[in-house]
């Protein structure tokens, strides 16, 4: 059957009337990059301990937990290290949206009144050169892989190439996105790439898939993030330094979207999962893109950040050229984007990557960003993760 174009009940998921407000009261991170001798799950435990300390809580205070990884095993085994408190610990396995789905679930558990304090954790540990997809795993014919057309990097290049032609985006602008990411990474203690890379080096580096050079892609990496979620009542009782979750929306692709691993696509072009998630998140939060003070946008490669600026409503298609030229997405710009260096500087441990964005927004809204702190006491923060086979998760936080 042809999939329905109606979104049906999906529109109602973000803000049921009965739900209470929910806050992030603790945030922990294991530095991203490569940590020899420490498993992905142990990095997760590290992040949980840090989040608990940040919230001033003990593991015994956590009433339920959601977590997962793409390639580093089940999250619930963490109870061996954290303590056998008997809490329900639900494993989440949702590809690139693993972290976002864990956070959405933890938030819903608190909002529905099921518990007052919940935890979301995501972690991963990918070897160098991971992400080697096989056709059978994706329901695709073998010839697609045999002929060399089944690479995620090709998809990103094909998407931005067309976008550049249609909307007048230059190669230099792609380079500026990467240059900004590495510059922000130098100021961020959880980033992997801590050295600046100049524009010429980025543009003249070996080509992976035209127009994207090797410095314009993020790499598989390791890392972990944990967030402690609490009801408003509990947050007040604890006197927590909390940040409100205004909305979270997770969406899968509508008909006619252009996604990775597609031997063919429909001539009838349709919507995008990011646009759906973004609109739902804004609507539930009751604010618009013009109200956002800082944003973390999925930047698997430079082109993704460019396109996601428009897909998330921050600018019109093509305006990114001017935005980058004027430095509007720099730390001191009108809308700082990827303040911790994003995926480009932090690498991409799939299960942790979406939660890293939320972690960074918590840091920024609390004013704890240090050298990378966005000026002017930001009040609203936006995060967006995107992944195969066409899904997006958006979270809007407010102080």
């Amino acid at each position: 059957m042809r999939p329905s174009t109606s979104l049906g009940n999906a529109e109602k998921l973000e803000s049921p009337l009965s739900m209470t407000q929910v806050h992030i009261i603790g945030a922990g991170i294991h530095p991203f990059g490569r940590t020899e001798g420490r498993s992905g799950r142990d990095q997760g435990v590290f992040a949980v301990h840090q989040a608990l300390a940040d919230a001033g809580l003990a593991w015994t205070d956590i009433e339920c937990a959601y977590g997962g990884s793409e390639a580093a095993g089940n999250a619930d085994i963490m109870v061996n290290e954290l303590g056998l408190t008997g809490l329900p610990f639900i494993n989440v396995s949702n590809g690139c949206a693993t972290g976002g789905s864990a956070l959405a679930s933890a938030r819903n558990a608190v909002a529905s009144g099921q518990c007052d304090i919940a935890m979301a954790v995501g972690f991963d540990k990918h070897p160098r050169g991971a992400f080697n997809a096989q056709p059978g795993d994706w329901g695709l014919p073998e010839w697609y892989g045999e002929t060399g057309m089944m690479l995620t990097t090709q998809f990103f290049a094909l998407k931005i190439q067309r976008y550049m032609q249609l909307h007048g985006i230059s190669r230099a602008t792609l380079g500026k996105v990467a240059e900004k990411a590495f510059r922000n990474g130098t100021l961020c203690d959880h980033a992997w790439r801590r050295s600046p890379v100049d524009l010429d080096t980025i543009l003249n580096a070996p080509m992976v898939n035209d127009p994207l050079t090797k410095y314009m892609f993020c790499s598989p990496a390791e890392g972990a993030v944990a967030l402690i979620i609490a009801s408003e009542k509990k947050a007040r009782e604890l006197g927590a330094d909390g940040v409100k979750i205004s909305s979270i929306a997770v969406r899968t692709r509508p008909p006619g979207s252009f996604e990775v691993f597609a031997p063919a696509i429909s001539v009838e072009r349709g919507g995008k999962p990011t646009e759906l998630a973004s609109q739902a998140a804004y609507e539930a939060a009751g604010i618009g893109p013009e109200d956002i003070d800082v944003a973390q946008l999925q930047d698997t490669e430079s082109g993704a950040e460019i396109m996601h600026m428009a897909e998330n409503g921050f600018c019109q298609d093509g305006e990114q050229e001017q935005w980058l030229a004027e430095g509007r997405t720099e730390l001191h710009g009108e809308l700082p984007v990827n303040t911790d260096g994003g995926c480009l500087a932090c690498g991409e441990p799939i299960g942790a990557s979406g939660l890293r964005q939320v972690y960074e927004n918590v840091v920024q809204l609390r004013g704890r960003g240090g050298a990378r702190q966005v000026p002017g006491n930001p009040k609203t923060a936006y995060s967006h993760v995107y992944g195969a086979p066409g899904l997006s998760a958006v979270a809007i936080l407010e102080r």
Binding site: E146, M149, Q154
Partner: protein
Amino acid sequence: MSMPLPVAEGLWTDEAEPRLIGGRHMQTGEIVFPMPEGDAAQHYAPLPLSPTGTLWSWTSQDFRPKSPPYTGPEEFVPFLLGYVELPGEVIVETHIEGAVLSDLKLGMAMELVLIEFAPGRTTFAFRPSA
């Protein structure tokens, strides 16, 4: 020397000027490529697709893809690939032959050819129309 073998059966028609074989959904009329296999096939009727179209996007493959699944030559030669829109039918991902990067423009006319992508093995490609 034996004839090179297609990378898969049923991808294109066996005629002097081959055409890709897609599938037309029996209820909705939507055209897909390749023709679905297994249980999904019952909903589709095979349909030879237009051998000409226009360039929708493109990129280069500058390093050797991992094997498996790639079965191209060990001595890797970079290649071009992209999507070609077959008017009113479907947009197919394809190798691009007979062009260099600087030749390629959005919307340019393309035509189907068969290429030997690995010794003794053929696949489909599109090249700029003569």
